[in-house]
Symmetry: D2
Subunit: 147 residues, 4 copies
């Protein structure tokens, strides 16, 4: 598990909440993907450019979430991104949604346990054929912290 | 204003509701578009096919909603679709979100007033150039009830 | 695995699709929950009523999805609901998203394999205290097909 | 029209895009509300707190958007917030979605015209009765720039 030195802070919005008064479970997947997209862009891998260039695509083959505690309207949450597994043609990302307790939480050593943990598995395919291919070296380097 | 004989029933879901306990205002635009897409498909104008064939596109240039009464979790609502204006290269649709009071509401003569009224204005453009063009005759016929 | 005799048909909408041209992965969780809510209502367990009565709640503690094939704009999909596990205070639902190939698919024996499989685990808690409790007998009966 | 000195930058995400390859029209309403909620919080009016305290609510009675140019995946957009009208018990906000052309756009004098303009009208009501009431003085002061 390599921490990607990526930390994104979000505030639970009015419309994230459902009729039961807590964040609707599916919202964490949208937030996780937004963190993924933002991190990739910061590493030089704009998803918009990847889609446009049509050399490869990184579709999800698996997504899961474990909900440990409810998130409520106005909660401030840090999303801590790490890479859980790196294979020849796929990678697994983990996102910990850690509530911020009154003060800034900028390290993996924060006291708060995550309220939600999300995992996504992406596979690398040729955009046209849809067939599996090896991850581009530049992307492997990024995951290895080689940048 | 021509009633398009289209009536779609929806039930307000758990996740349509926001932290204030009522349907989040932006949800009506998604529902309106789903009704539009379903109606178009039933008339032989699948949006998927239109996008694929790349002859024309029908982007929105305007959308608005007036909220008369809140919608709550579990409310059953009929969406009544009508065409408010038909021009050479654009059309205006109106969607009335009418709560169903204990029984079926299948006509424009229902007792309940709409909780929300949505209006969308679509313009017809060449898919490639983005320039305005006349609406296809077949689509004009559909709006005129000529089918 | 008990098939709940529940079958819901959906059509992939314009806005379900993302910039990569396929259904955004997180949408299946919204659809799964809508199927769950509709099925529960049909069994006499309106989620709106459950929330209002505040006797118990059924929050998710886990959700996952496996993506076997992409879903595209206009695809017609049957969602087949079954109960994978029933415990004293929790239950696990499975949703198979099966593309409909030109004709109706109404049985578990359909030819098409699922494009996506979703799993959700719900735990029963006291609404006020948040503490785990046994599932109501009436709900257990429903899951056992006792209705 | 009073500029509220509020400027929020967003990047159009993969899932904001629809099957037609541009941002789905309804997304701007979600973004507008997120800007509204963030701005209110920064002025000391947390919507979470307002909902919790149940003294007043600020539901929307009208929302509209004019789409001047499509927004595409990866576009960077500044949302410029201003107050268009302030009445005894209601206020009208305007949000200009201005694409950022290669460089920072931090003033109302930017060269780019807005791609989308959104308007929302909020009315102040008693949370319990739902009846119209005057806006709290503190909120009027904020809109008048008195802070």
């Amino acid at each position: 598990m390599v921490l990607l030195n990526a930390n994104y802070r979000l505030t639970v919005t009015l419309h994230d909440i459902d009729a039961a008064g807590v964040m609707f479970f599916a919202q964490v997947f949208r937030y996780a993907h937004d963190v993924y997209e933002q991190w990739m862009t910061q590493q030089g891998f704009s998803l918009a450019q990847i889609v446009r260039e049509q050399q490869f695509a990184l579709p999800l083959v698996h997504a899961s979430a474990d909900y440990h505690a409810p998130l409520r309207h106005g909660d401030v949450v840090d999303v801590i991104l790490s890479i859980a597994e790196l294979k020849n043609s796929s990678f697994t990302l983990q996102y910990q949604f850690v509530p911020v307790a009154g003060q800034s939480v900028n390290s993996i050593n924060q006291v708060n346990p995550p309220a939600v943990t999300v995992t996504t598995v992406h596979v690398c395919i040729h955009q046209q054929s849809g067939k599996k291919r090896a991850l581009p070296n530049e992307l492997v380097n990024v995951f290895n912290g080689g940048r």
